[in-house]
């Protein structure tokens, strides 16, 4: 123990020296490596009891489980796998040499066969063609390497957290989520998707380590907790730009929201828990899950303070109230920006709110707001906004390039959570833009041979849960060019005048993801949709209807009537976000199938994807 502590001390002092040198040369590492090195104060006795319990469960499982049934299931799977291999060999033999060469070099054409009823995992990964499969394999190795490397930075609390929280286990399946998001993509589109999703996953992995380190039940790092400012997952992170020595963490993002996009089944126990306490089942599953996670103690106990908000809607208010009652000793600041954000006279009120929030953080943590740090980050954020606008320009042309869930997630994460904080994201933007421009010059297709319709996604989106935009492209050739949640504030933020900078920050926050459209009235969500449909020249509107969203349900009839008058193809898809029991993914897909066959008289580009079972899949 003494030797290991000594070694840790030597390692830390070497690392500190290197960081000081890097700081002098202007190269600062992100996130601050000191956060990883903050000392843990684990309750080893409790952790020992935990491990003992895990051991007991292992023995119980072995004793209780029906070994015969388990091995029979594995045998059935193996037999089915062998049958599939036989079938694929047969299909290969029946192909002409040209067809065989095409599959070998350019990949398989039908993807439905990769699913098997009742199975969580795919039968095998997609054969994308020789070069693209090799690239995909490399990215798979890189992703696992990054995950292992990041968790290895403080392995013990991370492992303890895995034994403690249900949601942690779903993160282990994140590589499967990556596969799903790149289904059918090849060439440059595949490369761009991998580049973007890697940055998102890295952010998540690093923050999971911080959660594990801070949580009183696990790492219990008092030193790090003093520097951690929690904010509601629906609140943007840019305010932390002025506090470079603090660590801002969107509190429920990792345990609830993001994990539900990886695994739609994760939040069901939380929803059930809070509903059993009397919350009506027609409440939006996002705040329901957040509250349910608090009820069954599935959120870490951590941080020095919490910034809550009324954004994007009253659901956040509900979740914040639960939060402050569950952790009464955690100081809370409520950001409550004016909803009518287009009235410029209200911006001054929002600025006062921001000033109050800054003062609150300063008082709690003892940190001082730094304008230099703030302007530096906002300059980077402006640069990223510029890159984003270039993507939009390309996607508006007849040859859209950067499509699919990886891009959609990246945009949302970059705008809302990263906000220019991580300098490692700029090279990703540069590289992606270079690739995009080259692909545009070559007139490449994101899903080769499958691009038939131009689509736009509107309202509270559910496409990550059901991998919907990817399925739309692979099955029906509907390519989602943009989604509502991407179309936010694109004004360059002020980086010199302090008062004007706060005004811009207020304007940015008021136009956060979802809030910009689904709040603030008719003009922001109805008129805006028709404007965007014209701008992007969309053939089809994928209109998600979150059955629990009261804001949007008030506008359904109006949207329907106006779409009919304007002769737009609008497909309504009911869903209940992270609760697939209300509307299953199969039922969501069925709405598109019906519309495409009856109204559009279309034939699917991949018939094997029209109907398949994925009820218990992620």
């Amino acid at each position: 123990m003494v030797i290991s502590t000594e070694l840790l001390g030597i390692r830390n002092s070497i690392a500190e020296n290197m960081e000081n040198k890097a700081k002098k040369s202007g190269k600062v590492k992100y996130p601050n490596p000191k956060f990883f090195r903050a000392k843990d104060n684990m309750d080893w006795k409790k952790q020992g009891e935990n491990l003992l319990e895990v051991g007991k469960i292992c023995v119980d499982i072995f004793k209780d489980s029906d070994q015969k049934a388990f091995w029979k299931k594995q045998l059935d799977r193996t037999i089915d796998d062998l049958k599939r291999v036989k079938l694929e060999i047969k299909q290969g033999i029946e192909m002409t040499p040209e067809e065989r060469k095409d599959v070998f070099l350019n990949g398989e054409k039908t993807l439905g066969k990769l699913y098997r009823k009742g199975d969580m995992a795919t039968v095998r990964r997609e054969w994308k063609g020789l070069a693209d499969t090799a690239y995909d394999f490399w990215e798979w190795c890189r992703m696992w390497g990054m995950l292992i490397g990041t968790f290895g930075k403080d392995l013990v609390p991370a492992l303890n957290t895995t034994f403690h929280y249900r949601w942690m286990i779903s993160y282990m399946c994140c590589v499967g989520f990556m596969d799903k998001n790149t289904f059918g993509q090849k060439g440059t589109a595949l490369k761009m998707s991998h580049l973007m999703i890697y940055d998102v996953f890295r952010y998540v992995a690093e923050n999971l380590v911080f959660l594990a380190k801070c949580d009183e039940k696990n790492g219990n790092s008092k030193e790090l907790n003093k520097k951690v400012v929690l904010f509601d997952e629906m609140t943007m992170g840019q305010i932390m730009a002025g506090f470079p020595d603090l660590l801002g963490i969107p509190y429920q993002l990792m345990p609830v929201f993001l994990v539900s996009e990886i695994d739609q089944l994760t939040c069901i126990p939380y929803i059930d828990a809070v509903e059993s306490f009397g919350l009506p089942a027609d409440t939006c599953p996002v705040p329901s899950s957040e509250c349910g996670a608090l009820v069954i103690d599935a959120l870490p106990h951590m941080g020095s303070c919490f910034i809550s908000s009324s954004m994007p809607c009253d659901g956040s208010v509900m979740a914040s109230e639960y939060m402050s009652r569950r952790f009464p000793n955690l100081p809370v600041y409520h950001l409550t920006f004016p909803v009518r954000y287009e009235y410029e006279e209200t911006t001054a009120d929002a600025v006062e709110d921001i000033k109050g929030c800054i003062k609150f953080v300063e008082e709690i943590t003892g940190a001082k707001w730094s304008w230099d740090a703030y302007f530096k980050q906002m300059k980077r954020f402006n640069e990223e906004t510029n890159y984003e606008l270039q993507k939009w320009e390309v996607n508006k042309t007849d040859y859209p390039q950067i499509l699919g869930p990886c891009y959609e997630l990246f945009r949302k994460w970059n705008y809302e959570m990263d906000g220019g904080a991580d300098p490692r994201v700029i090279p990703t933007f540069k590289k992606t833009t270079e690739l995009m421009m080259k692909a545009y010059e070559r007139r490449e297709e994101a899903w080769v041979g499958k691009m038939k319709y131009r689509g736009i996604v509107w309202s509270c989106p559910a496409h990550y849960y059901a991998n919907f935009s990817n399925w739309l492209a692979n099955c029906w050739g509907v390519d989602i060019l943009v989604e509502m949640e991407s179309l936010n504030f694109t004004k360059m933020l002020e980086t010199e005048d302090k008062e004007e900078a706060l005004m811009d920050l207020a304007r940015l926050y008021e136009r956060m993801v979802m809030r910009r459209h689904t709040n603030g009235g008719y003009h922001n969500v109805v008129n805006e949709l028709w404007k965007q449909v014209e701008d992007w020249r969309a053939d089809i509107i994928i209109m998600y209807q979150n059955v629990a969203c009261k804001n949007m349900s008030t506008l359904q009839g109006i949207l329907d009537d106006q779409a009919r008058e304007k002769n737009y193809h609008m497909i309504w898809i009911e869903h209940d976000l992270m609760d697939p029991r209300t509307v299953s993914r199969k039922n969501m897909r069925q709405k598109v199938n019906e519309y495409m066959t009856t109204v559009m008289k279309a034939t699917p580009v991949d018939p094997t994807l029209v109907d398949f079972d994925d009820e218990i899949c992620m």
Binding site: I57, T122, T133, F137, R166, C173, V175, D297, P328, N329
Partner: protein, 67 residues
């Protein structure tokens, strides 16, 4: 000669690692291990865990401390 053998062995070992990893990747063995072995075990663990029962907390303890 020895160097040649060493190179051959290294290349062979690397090729074996590559082939093994590729098999794991292509047949989604990582996903299968996680979904069919690790997850069911962990779910049992989470279901068995003793958790705080908010209804059993006395009223006078509320707003006092983390429970």
């Amino acid at each position: 000669m020895k160097a040649c053998k060493l190179i051959k062995k290294t290349v062979g070992a690397l090729a074996a690692v590559y082939a093994g990893l590729f098999a794991v990747y292509y047949f989604d063995l990582d996903g299968k291990l996680l979904y069919y072995v690790v997850e069911p075990f962990m779910i049992k663990r989470f279901d068995n865990m003793k958790r705080r029962d908010p209804l059993s907390v006395p009223y006078d303890q509320i707003d006092k401390e983390y429970m």
